[in-house]
Subunit: 342 residues, 4 copies
């Protein structure tokens, strides 16, 4: 018998991706699937690509319906996980793909989300130094945001070793699935195709404090982050371009050594060979993180580019990776670095 | 120890997809990878999405390099499999993703390909009536073309039961990967994006005789096929719209019954519930075939739409499905109907 | 002073395209712009690409606001033009981009739209034989639907000359703007990109009776049309593939002669040179219609492919072309066959 | 009679866009069109969207074929304009869309292009302070690069007024037409669609010294620029995100005032209203530049985003705008800010 997993929010993009991964995971058995306004309909209406689960009927998202499972994955709009999680058993592993439990500082939460802070759970980015032990011992996991996953993994090795100044500029392109299945005019295909646009400019995107928190913890000093997200005409993928001034004496070799060391034993992160640069298509459907670094001597900056699939490593793959750790399973179980391309 | 598989043409799109599937297949061990002009380079240069195989060096495509395996997958340009296959052992399973061994009639081959006919191998479409036994007993498999896979599965149940006249019109849209990694101006991203175009109009596309052959065998009488392929701005996927005049007394129910019966036990083919229509995104990266049928009473026609991923069920997934049969493995092993979406 | 033109429905895609063309038209002066729920907002909120009109405030769509113009372009949801048009002066040229006045047969209207029939206006497809005189003498124009524009121009020359049987199969791909700015899940960028899908299959699409009407009038006998629309991952463009059985003695030359004759003096329609096939990108933003014909001898069919921009020739360009005629202006004024590509 | 214009390199993307604009320009008459390896073929083979010019035969690119015109537009690969321009008459206006004459410093040219420096011509960016007089008096114009156009217009007002430090970080996304019609694997549709990728990272892109030159001249002091270009899945468009640390006392109002002042009389540049952000689709096919600025107080940075069409304002539109000035025509003649969308 597998570990029984429930998924709340199964009709959305994040929930669908959790199910896609669970369906191919040898350790899990897929239990109850729940939804909000889509409760009572068949999963196949919303996720027609998940053929073997198409006939499953969605229950309402209630603590009762989610009870009786070993793991509950929450793929809900921000702010809904907090109240629900309180009513789930303390012995159940709860993995929250939303933002509710990511931030340490309640003031940050309130400033960016406008509601009371639900709390802080162990942060599900095992690649950050020293995090695996906490994840192995927890029943509550806050899955990182998609942009923070890419940006944190792009920049922490340089900040950890003090190779760059703690003042980071990030411009990242995301596919439209990052916005979820929201019926907004600017997300219509006619608007999105053939167009790159900026949004949330000037530090107002909700993922900003999460990046600042992660990088500051690694750097051991406050880090400023100027973050500009852009929307690109693709369904999936994040390409994050990150740059910071290098400290004296830093060379390309110093930088490559730091990243090589940080990632040499990481199953999902690759520092690319020199001369090759990440593309989001190299990560599609996989839990892969691709990183490359350059040293712009004239500008005095390190430039680091990272690519992930925002729904896989950036959401559901990251969730399962941390859940594997918390459940004592091999960290890589049911996950792959083999992407779908072209 | 797994079954040792070699892949010839590993740097192309078809070869890459074979490898993607083999990498997740529990029954195979990936042996030698070969290429033509890319021999001597690393696989990661061409297939950066296949992380765990990225460091593999490509050997030259020769019988010697392909020797010593239990299975050899050929993913070569049309016309190259014939001469090579002659030099591979008779006890080795050879699975040809090219066209060389698909056609029964040498005249058809010569008319459409212009070279001498190499021969005819068992045709790797297990869903066609009565084909599984032949595939279980062979050491040589001709993998169907991508368009013929979609069109044959869209139309054979109606023709088998004599529900429609043997005069079929097909218009199909394909993603650009169907053309392979060829450096032609009309395949450049700037030309392809935002544009649907027609090509090979008027019965000149090389997949036409293959459709005629398949459908004629099922119908038990000659079938005419008017086939028009179009190129759509997406990397993967085929949507085939097929229509034929219904015979007297045929209703939507008759049609749905025929398709329901044909596919009720097929692991990879689904007749969709009434009211839902296939989209190629529902099949991305999966071995899925989605079919839906309508009866246009005013026009007196059955209209059948089928969607597949041209590289998966249309090439590499179909190849592995037949190889599983030939090797005595479960037909579904290493294949999935769980697609990657959105 | 130019001819004063009002546009009702200025915040939608069709209305925006009418404005794009009017803005570059030397004969028109842009007057009042109206909208439904967007009344009171600036045009630039909805049509940020129309820079010189961005500050215009949208009035409510009422007969009073539309009064005092020489021409009124209606770009409204189907069913709304009828009641409104009754309240516009008989001396004002009213050009309806909607479907309300296209169909001759009230029974067709009711069967496909479900409301009472508003009436029939002169049909704005000047390329149909004998239509220019009626358009030059009218104050009311029904602009053809986008699909019927492409399909009628693809097939009428062959039917006019009796070269094919009156039983036409059409499969057409459209960009998403054809569905307007509707907030429906299947029109979200995440769903549309990377996917071709079928919809309205089996003769139920509302443009079907319009095609049957046009082609039947030209053929002089009833014509059946099997029409399947598909949605392609692009914002604009229609590629229509049309086929019918050729009558005895018809050859490629016969066919090319018919099309050459039909279009030799048409300013917006081109029969392509042999060997070249239409792509929608060749027509982007232009009033161009590209047509090519093949004779599939083995299948006994003529195959005709036509490409248009669904918003230009398929909607707003066609509207202005007919309005030019009705106003006594040169038919080509303010329109172009120079597209935007790549 | 209009001003006679020749176009060298008419079969490429830049040349095609020059022709698209000239075809709608009331002041020009299109003369000889030339090409390299495509000489002797019809323009319609390469630019099928330019219907009225489709039958024009391309001459070879030689000084003789280009003689006898009032203006010659050069749309050639970098390095080819230099030798050719020497052989064109001094009384002929030569407008070079290539890079050959953009850089002031021969060392910069040699470092980035590797060949001897051809010289420096007046730089065709009329929006830069004080440039219009020089352009009105010249017979030689160096059209700016596409990225430098966007980046210079995004950043110069802030640098001119000393509102930010002279240390600029730029990450820009470009459509694939920026790479021209080059047959390279990474430009194939299958590779480009669904993927954003980085290239030329670390200050090695050839447009970097041009940005540094422009911004340094405006700032009156050396400016460092960290420039990272990325390739987005669209044919056209550049979205440049630019950021620099603000100097003490600078607020959002200071910044908006500077941009408002710089662009209030510019026909092609718009500072968007607060709360709206540029998308490349808003500029498609138009000579429009859209700019928006934010002040990230937490990070201490101004963030400026600019959108252009890389082929229009970024190449051919910019070329015609400067040519208009040099010919004494109205600067806006034949150019528009009305884009094609959706």
């Amino acid at each position: 018998m597998g570990i029984r997993a429930a998924v709340a929010g199964a009709s959305g993009y994040a929930g669908g991706e959790v199910l896609r991964i669970l369906a191919g995971h040898p350790g899990f058995e897929i239990g109850t699937l729940t939804a909000g306004s889509n409760a009572g309909t068949e999963l196949g209406t919303h996720q027609p690509h998940l053929r073997s689960l198409a006939g499953r009927v969605l229950a309402e998202t209630t603590p009762e319906n989610l009870a009786g499972h070993d793991v509950v994955f929450l793929a809900l709009p921000h702010g809904q996980s907090g109240p629900l999680a309180e009513q789930l058993g303390q012995d159940v592993l709860v993995v929250d793909c939303g933002a509710d439990f990511r931030l340490n500082d309640p003031a940050d939460w309130t400033a960016f989300y406008g509601t009371p802070h639900a709390g802080t759970w162990p942060y599900g980015l095992p690649e950050l130094p020293g995090r695996r032990a906490a994840l192995a011992a927890t029943k509550r996991i806050a899955v990182p945001g998609c942009y923070p996953t890419a940006v944190t993994l792009a920049m922490f090795p340089a900040l950890l070793d003090g190779l760059v100044e703690p003042d980071v500029v990030v411009v990242a392109a995301s596919g439209t699935s990052g916005a979820g299945r929201s019926l907004k005019p600017h997300l219509l295909g006619s608007e999105v195709m053939g167009s790159v646009s900026a949004y949330g400019v000037g530090g107002v995107h909700r993922h900003t404090p999460e990046m600042i928190q992660n990088l500051g913890e690694v750097a051991g000093e406050p880090v400023t982050v100027s973050f500009t997200p852009t929307l690109a005409p693709m369904s999936r993928g994040i390409l994050a371009t990150c740059t910071a001034r290098t400290r004296p004496g830093v060379t390309l070799e110093t930088l490559r050594d730091a990243y090589g060391t940080a990632y040499e034993n990481e199953p999902f992160v690759s520092l690319l060979p020199e001369g090759r640069w990440p593309a989001t298509s190299m990560t599609l459907g996989a839990n892969t993180v691709l990183v490359q670094v350059a040293h712009d001597e004239r500008a005095g900056r390190a430039v680091v580019v990272a690519a992930i699939d925002n729904l896989t490593k950036g959401t559901a793959g990251g969730a399962v990776q941390s859940a594997n750790l918390a459940l004592g399973l091999p960290e890589e179980l049911g996950l792959t670095t083999i992407g779908v391309s072209p």
